[in-house]
Symmetry: C2
């Protein structure tokens, strides 16, 4: 395997938009989807980056994702709303819902928008970060396909159910927490399995619910939630807010993005908190800067650099914007095959 090739962001953006529009997505929507994929690439969350495109297109081809879904708000009630994504792209629904949450928050101090009948929406922090430029705190969550067994049980039923919060700063890098409820991502365990390496205890449980250091047994079993019963409880609450409150589904019914047997029936929840409804926004941002500096001035373990949530990703993004985004040769090949098939621009 050769060295990865560096692509500038504009080239990748054009590739994504060309491919998506050829697959039937409207240009303005393709732009949003491309932006989320490249946001993940820039922040080095490759699992939610450009490699997702083949799966998304496969869903369209299989007729289980509608690229031109008509998304409508079916409930609007003061500071809340419910969007029916009508089985369209999670990214389009997510952008629409978060934009609405921000607009509502400018009027009411907070805006909360639930989304039903959606799909994989990519990198969650893309949406929470939309609140930053409006001096708002963005909070976003989604449920996902079964991966975590409810505490005390052997069967994965809860998703890893990511939660993200983005907090604006004055001069410092914004705080962007983006975390799932499992101790590690399933991808990490899959990687160990591929390399025939043991995993640390505390990552996975076998199908009998026992701790295991065998990656294959963990893949056949379930992921360990953070804090055991606590992470399991949090994952359930997120599932309820994203799945049940949106009148979308019952826990365990969400399909993985790679499961082509039908619509994924994913739900999300988007919230924006308008800081100026509580206090002076500039003072708030100055105070967050103070906190960041206070934490960074603490004695660190082994004299390591102390990073805030989202800080490493921010630096990586800055670097990649300048140097380009690295793609492996095999990824490029598969993306070009896809481009040819859709008569879209090659990389």
């Amino acid at each position: 395997m050769g060295d990865p090739i560096l692509y500038d962001i504009d080239t990748l953006n054009e590739y994504c938009i060309s491919l998506l529009t050829k697959a039937g997505v409207k240009t303005e929507h393709a732009e949003i989807i491309a932006e989320t994929l490249l946001c993940a690439e820039l922040r080095d969350i490759k699992s939610h980056g450009i490699i997702r495109l083949p799966t998304y297109l496969q869903r369209i081809e299989a007729g289980i994702l509608n690229p031109i879904a008509d998304m409508r708000f079916e409930k609007e009630y003061g500071a809340t709303a419910l969007l029916d994504a009508n089985n369209g792209f999670g990214q389009i629904a997510g952008h629409k819902a978060m934009t609405a949450a921000i607009e509502i928050a400018s009027l009411y101090g907070i805006g909360v928008v639930g989304v039903k009948n959606s799909n994989h929406f990519g990198i969650a922090s893309y949406y929470s970060m939309l609140a930053l430029e409006k001096d708002m705190i963005g909070i976003v969550m989604t449920h996902a396909s079964p991966a975590i067994a409810p505490f005390g049980t052997k069967t994965p039923l809860l998703g890893t159910n990511p939660l993200t919060a983005a907090v604006p700063t004055s001069k410092e890098i914004p705080i962007v927490l983006d975390m799932s409820m499992s101790t590690v991502a399933r991808g990490k365990i899959r990687y160990s399995a591929m390399k025939n390496e043991k995993i640390p205890f505390g990552w996975g449980l076998d199908s009998e619910g026992n701790p295991t250091d065998d990656p294959q047994k963990a893949l056949d079993g379930s992921l360990v939630p953070i804090g055991g019963v606590k992470g399991s409880g949090l994952a359930l609450i997120i599932d309820i807010l994203c799945g049940v409150l949106t009148n979308n589904s019952i826990t365990g019914e969400v399909k993985n993005v790679t499961d082509m047997s039908g619509p994924s029936k994913t739900g999300h929840l988007f919230a924006a908190l308008n800081i100026s409804a509580f206090m002076d926004s500039q003072l708030f941002k100055d105070n967050i800067d103070k906190i960041i500096n206070k934490i960074k001035a603490l004695p660190s373990i082994n004299n390591n650099q102390i990073y805030m949530a989202g800080e490493i990703e921010y630096y990586l993004a800055e670097k990649k914007k300048k140097d380009g985004i690295p793609l492996e040769e095999e990824v490029i090949n598969s993306l070009n095959i896809l481009a040819d098939r859709y008569s879209a621009s090659r990389l």
Copy 2:
């Protein structure tokens, strides 16, 4: 040490109200404080029960908690509000704020109320559960005095920062998650230290930030957050929402309830989500029932009973309402000494 003595809830309630009113608290406020203390007793969260009274009264005596604080909403903005607790009881502020959040949510779909200049508010789930009878989801968080070191550092700065969510059901027991961001409570480590027992790795870090099984070293160091960097990040977000957004304090400034050197400067955040703004409430509750039954039907580890969040506490409360609340003789003695000092009713 003899067996604990069982007290019926009315007797304890009268004791609390008598003592608090003699200490200068208005009757209607004493009733709320008593209710939260007994809620903790019933749910077997003894750490937030009646044993807190001596500390609360000590704060009043020291002039660092105002029993007749004038609490006012200083910001009201659509679906949000900010209450200045004016250094009064956290319980009074909490009840007022959550009641307001519920009222706001009935108008706007969601209500979010921040509280500044507050104090220890006792058992967090008391407040989230207030939403249940209105067919709302209650979400409450508070920050607390330093206990957790920000990830990568050696110094406790973040509180355990509890988060609670209460979800209404139809026929089943409501789901009530009430959790801190540390793997275990400091009280558990203190108990092991007292008994000269080792603690499991994963509970505490020594003052150099290394994992330790020595309870004293953990008490001198910090508590391990759930999921490491994840729990540390969540604790910071909760601190920001409760402390910074309320214009209350900078991370690390909250004083422990037992620290008599000045006002504790505690902040909280209360949210109520009106289910009927999103969907039919009865259908929602029926669906939560379905989820509970679905989880309980899963194969369990070692054939153990599967419990939902808050379920064990619910059963304990039902039992104690009938049989009485057990108090140790030494607790009773100290409470009676306190009663005598205030010329209040003895137990």
